[in-house]
Symmetry: C2
Subunit: 209 residues, 2 copies
DNA sequence: GAAAGCATTGAATCAATATTCATTCTTTGT
DNA sequence: ACAAAGAATGAATATTGATTCAATGCTTTC
C-alpha cells in the first residue's frame, strides 16, 4: 500500500467541491438553473467536467445541493428577522419584509429559487423549503394566537397563504423577461413590499392597523 | 388544377385537430405536461405523429394551446362566479371559493395548470393567465373600493396576493406525489377552502367578518 | 378514370448536453 | 526513486424523444 488519503488531500478535494458549488451558484445567479451548463461550471471552477461527477452524482444532484444551500441561507435570514420586534405581529411583519426585500435585491437568484421551472429533484427541494418557510411563520402565528394578538386560525394553512401571497406578488417583478423598473417608478419597490406586507398582516389579524 | 380544399375536408381536418386537442388534454390530465408524449397523443387520437405537426408547430406550441384552452375555461368560471352575490365582498368570496373548489376536484389538472414546471412557452401562457385571474379580482376590488366596502389599496397588487395565496395553499394538496387525503380527514377540503377564503377576504377588508 | 394537389404516415434522423471511462497525472509510503 | 492507489482529464459516447420528409394514399376536378 503506497497511498492513503491524507488530510491535505481531503482538504484539497473539499476546496474543489467548494469551488464547484460557488461557480454553480454564480452561473445560476446569472441565468437560472436551466441555462447553467456543466461545461461552463467546470471551466469556471478550473476542473474537468468529469471531476464534477466525482463530487456529485449528477447535474440534478448538484443543482439540488446548490438549491438547498442557497435557500437555507434565505430561510435563516427569515428566521432571524422573526426574532426581532416587540410584538408577534411586528416580528411577522419584519420577517415578511425581509423575505420580500431580499428577493427584490437579487431578482435572478430569487427567481431561480422561487419561480423558475426546474427539474423534479430540484422541485422537490423547493417544496421542502416552502414548507420550511411556512413552518417558521406557522410557529409565530401559533405564538400569536396563544398570546391572543391573533384570532384563532389554522396556522399551517394561513402560513402557507403568506408564502403564496409574497411569492406570487414577487414573481412578476422578478421575472427575468421584465426585470427593469420602468422609468418614473424608481422606488416602487418599497411600496410593493409595504402593500404585500400589509395584505398579509391583515389576512392574519383581520384588522386595518 | 384538380384539387381545392373543400368544406368537407376543412371539417375533417378540424375534427382531427379537435381530437388531438382532446387527447392531449386527456394525457395532461393524467400525468401533467412533462409526461405527455407526442407518440402517445398521436396513438390516442388515431393519427400519425407527423400529422400532429401539420396542426401544431411543435410540441410546445401544442401544449401552449392546450394550456390556453384549459385555463380559459377556468378563468371563465371565476368570472362567472364573480357576478353572483349581493355585495362585492360576497362576489369575491364566491369567486375565490370557485377557484379553490374546482382545483381540488381535479387535482392533477390543477397541478398542471398552476404548479407543474413547464417549458418557457407554456410558462409564458401561465403568466398571462395569472394576470387574467388577477385582473378579474382587481376589477372587483376596485369596485369594492369605490363602493367604500373595501379600504383603499393597490388593487393590482392585492389581487396578485389573492392569486398567490390560493395557488400556494393548494399546491401542497394538489402535488401529485401526495394526492391522497389521509384517513380521518375526509371532508378537510371544505375547511381548507374556507380557511383560504377567510384569509383572503381578511387581507382585503381588514375585518374579522 | 386520370391527373393534380394535399394530407398522412412512421421509420429514420437530429439535436443538445449530460455522462462515461480509458488514459494520464499526482500523491503517498517505503 | 519506485510502485501502488487514487484523482483528474476531456474526447467520445449515450440518451431521449421531438421532429422531419420521402413515400404513399385520398380527394377533387374535368
Amino acid at each position: 500500500m503506497a497511498y492513503r488519503e491524507t488530510e491535505k488531500m481531503r482538504q484539497r478535494k473539499a476546496e474543489a467541491r467548494q469551488r464547484i458549488i460557488e461557480c454553480t451558484w454564480a452561473c445560476v445567479s446569472e441565468g437560472g438553473f436551466r441555462s447553467a451548463r456543466i461545461t461552463r461550471i467546470a471551466a469556471l471552477a478550473g476542473v474537468a467536467t468529469g471531476t464534477i461527477y466525482r463530487h456529485f452524482e449528477s447535474r440534478e444532484d448538484l443543482f439540488a445541493e446548490i438549491f438547498r444551500l442557497a435557500t437555507q441561507r434565505e430561510v435563516d435570514k427569515v428566521a432571524e428577522a422573526l426574532t426581532v420586534g416587540e410584538s408577534t405581529v411586528q416580528r411577522l411583519e419584519n420577517a415578511l419584509r425581509q423575505f420580500a426585500t431580499r428577493a427584490l435585491k437579487g431578482p435572478m437568484k430569487a427567481w431561480a429559487l422561487i419561480a423558475e421551472p426546474v427539474d423534479p429533484k430540484v422541485e422537490e427541494e423547493r417544496l421542502v423549503y416552502r414548507k420550511a418557510y411556512a413552518s417558521l411563520f406557522e410557529q409565530a402565528i401559533q405564538d400569536g394566537i396563544a398570546e391572543g394578538c391573533l384570532p384563532d386560525q389554522d396556522a399551517r394553512l394561513t402560513s402557507t397563504c403568506l408564502v403564496g401571497a409574497i411569492s406570487e406578488s414577487l414573481v412578476g417583478p422578478l421575472s427575468p423577461t421584465q426585470t427593469k423598473t420602468p422609468p418614473g417608478h424608481e422606488n416602487n419597490d418599497n411600496d410593493l413590499v409595504e402593500t404585500i406586507v400589509c395584505f398579509c398582516i391583515r389576512g392574519l389579524t383581520g384588522t386595518r392597523s
